[in-house]
């Protein structure tokens, strides 16, 4: 891994920006004298100042406050913060109904986020090919050529949102949790309304898995694209199974050896460190045991499906075994296999939702556990759609936030995204010229990770992008810009 070494001898290729919204990005490619890309830097302006901003706010507001962090997965932040707040009020164990409602909410959120990512953002690339005509390579193109696929995506997303609506009262920025529980039971009518479509949702999710398996296994050129051999970090349940709401941390090396397992996430500071690099607002977390150079890791669907020993729902488990076979029993490191793993998880969400809706506890009325002794520190961790999400709060005696630390999934994947970008850039850079092909391929590589920064503009299939080629002395050699409507302009 190469980073942070002096750059005086390197020319710089700057790609700017991967749009604002949840954050905005820019990629700088640092060339060495042989036109080889020595280092890639994906700049993301994200969560800047948030931890400061929340200082002095009352702790019970935090689960609502943090929803503003992200327009795509506010529920994940809401739940991670709620888990931290449970600890602050001394609640170790939620009531069965509250726990199941939170899990249902989380499955709904993950299902809709995964559906959005595949069908709206990535399916155009995957169905038409990365290099295909831009005019066709968007959700409208998918709607025309693969109408059933596009419609299934829309409906899966809507179903996930329907769950969020029923539990949190609104599709985004709802309110579901209270310290130690939930604020509203699921009514029988709401449950029955959700049961209406669940069989379709199961069928659509199964088809989405099959489609993604087919796309990945059928394109050998996808295997090595942006691919890295990395460590993986995720939560697993107590039996090592896939678990998205609550479990212990598991980290494994690229070869599958255990680094940590069943680790209580409240001790995350003992195993993770966050490196600050002067050129980025985002930190670079690494596993302490392996050190700065070797300790970076990937999170998210690929990490989770690789890391777990099983998936506790039958259809997703069968899909996982096929995924495993593709990896010949070892980890699948293909970056584009994120998409496949993501759909396996979507299927798991659909199956889990079905189970929960048939569980009598889900319509229970016992929503809040009695509060115990107040604590000054709360650490909530959840497997968000994009990966492990850490919320850590320390409060003063009056209940105001003194300190907050968040590690969001995109931050954990930071180094990996840089490395994937570097690998793709090396493959597609053409001398001193930034080509449109390079731009497109970089987009595809970053998008596989589903980083937060890719949200809204991607949803429209529009990703403004600027590439700058700078000489070692900083002089501009070439600049390529792709505007929001896909028009390319070169300016030097």
């Amino acid at each position: 891994m190469e980073h942070d070494s002096p750059t005086s001898y390197a020319r710089r290729v700057a790609i700017d920006p991967i749009t604002r919204v949840e954050g905005h990005g820019k990629i700088t490619l640092l060339l060495d004298d042989n036109n080889h890309i020595r280092e890639a830097r994906l700049h993301i302006v994200e969560f800047r100042g948030f931890e400061k901003f929340i200082q002095g706010r009352p702790y019970w507001e935090v689960p609502f406050f943090v929803q503003r962090l992200c327009g795509i997965c506010p529920v994940s932040h809401h739940l991670a913060a709620a888990k931290a707040v449970d600890q602050l009020v001394g609640v170790e164990q939620l009531t069965p109904t509250a726990l199941k409602l939170r899990r249902l909410l989380h499955f709904g959120q993950t299902l809709q986020s995964h559906a959005l990512h595949f069908f709206h953002l990535s399916s155009p690339d995957l169905l038409f090919g990365f290099g295909s005509n831009l005019a066709e390579r968007n959700i409208v193109g998918v709607l025309e050529k693969y109408p059933e696929v596009a419609l299934q995506g829309v409906k899966l997303r809507k179903y996930g949102q329907q769950i969020i609506m029923a539990i949190a009262g609104k599709r985004i920025h709802g309110a579901a949790t209270v310290p130690g529980g939930m604020n509203k039971p699921l009514t029988i009518a709401e449950r029955d309304a959700l049961l209406v479509d669940i069989q379709d949702v199961l069928a659509w999710s199964s088809e989405a898995v099959a489609l993604n398996e087919h796309i990945h296994t059928g394109h050998p050129e996808h295997y090595g694209f942006a691919t890295l051999r990395t460590n993986f970090l995720s939560m697993t349940g107590s039996g090592g199974e896939l678990e998205l709401y609550h479990g212990g941390l598991r980290a494994r090396t690229a070869g599958g050896e255990s680094i940590i397992d069943q680790f209580d996430y409240r001790g995350y500071r003992d195993i993770l460190r966050e490196e600050v690099r002067p050129w980025s607002y985002m930190k670079f977390p690494y596993l302490l045991a392996l050190g700065k150079e070797q300790g970076w890791y990937r999170v998210g669907p690929l990490a989770r499906v690789n890391n777990c020993d099983a998936i506790p729902t039958p259809l997703a488990e069968t899909a996982r075994q096929r995924f495993r076979e593709f990896g010949k029993g070892g980890f699948v490191h293909d970056t584009l296999a994120y998409h496949w793993a993501r759909m396996i998880e979507a299927l798991h969400c659909a199956e889990s939702i079905n189970e929960l809706l048939h569980d009598p506890d889900i319509i229970g009325a016992d929503l809040v556990a009695p509060h115990g002794e107040k604590r000054r520190v709360g650490i909530g961790v959840i497997e968000a759609p994009r990966g492990t999400l850490f919320h850590h709060y320390q409060i003063d005696a009056q209940g105001l936030i003194e300190k907050a630390n968040l590690i969001v999934s995109t931050t954990s994947n930071n180094q990996a995204m840089n490395e994937s970008v570097r690998s793709v850039a090396n493959e597609y850079i053409d001398g001193n010229e930034i080509t449109e092909g390079l731009l497109n391929h970089l987009e595809v590589a970053v998008r596989a990770y589903d980083p937060c920064l890719s949200c809204a503009t991607h949803a429209l299939g529009k990703m403004p992008l600027q590439v700058e080629l700078l000489a070692a002395d900083g002089a501009l050699v070439d600049r390529l810009t792709k505007g929001v409507s896909g028009e390319i302009t070169r300016s030097v």
Binding site: E61, P63, F64, F65, Q67, G169, H173, A175, Q398, G399
Partner: protein
Amino acid sequence: MRAEPKRDTAIPNTITIDGQEIPFSIGQTIMDAALAAGVYIPHLCHRPGLTPHGSCKLCTVSIEGRNVASHTADRRIQASSSVEIDSRSVSACTMPAMAGQQIRNNTPALNEVRKTITQMLFIEGNHLCPSCEKTGDCTLQAVAYHLGMLDGHFPQLSPRREVDASHGSVVLDRDRCILCELCVRASREVDGKNVFAISGRGIDAHLIVNSASGKLADSDLETGDMAAHICPVGAILIKEHGYEVPIGRRTFDLHRVSEIGLEPVILAKVRHTDE
């Protein structure tokens, strides 16, 4: 009530609001008469039972007629906001009702002025509705919806004033205070205390606590006081509560802000109980 002056006996005690004739009794303000007749005049700093304060200006109405003297400066403002010039703008909550007043209330021009006032109240504080416990129960938010406000229009001032969480059960977030003085008056007139006051002028005006340390903990505010519950926004809240009442069940999910007599409902909601 005072005895009616003799010369008035011939004139019926009515005023007209937007063409609707409304009876009043001597001593009532235009707001009192309107509310009694079920006519909504947007307001934030007014609450029946407390001395009118006339500070938010949301209740601005115009009175027509030859004899309505108005200061030239007022006329200039009226002209620039395209409010009728042949009229006088007054605060309905402080202006006594007088027989024969021809009053305009629910007009596009007046509502536009009210919307601008509401926008200014929003940008002067930190009103981040999605993360505020008061969302859905907040009168400022409800009035904004009522007036069709879609954005803050003006640049955000994003103040950072002191949060006072020293009290065992009440928290004061000054960044949300709209200086309506409802808490000030409730404390004096209902609770028989004197917990709050406004200090400073103009943009520096802020709510202070009348205690030796200036902290709520050292005041005699108690959870049961009306002053602890009356805040129309999320500036004074009961501590360690948040979102017990689900979205969809909050005051303005179930009621319109223009509904008359909502005050008891709003007060009950701040005790975190569903209707």
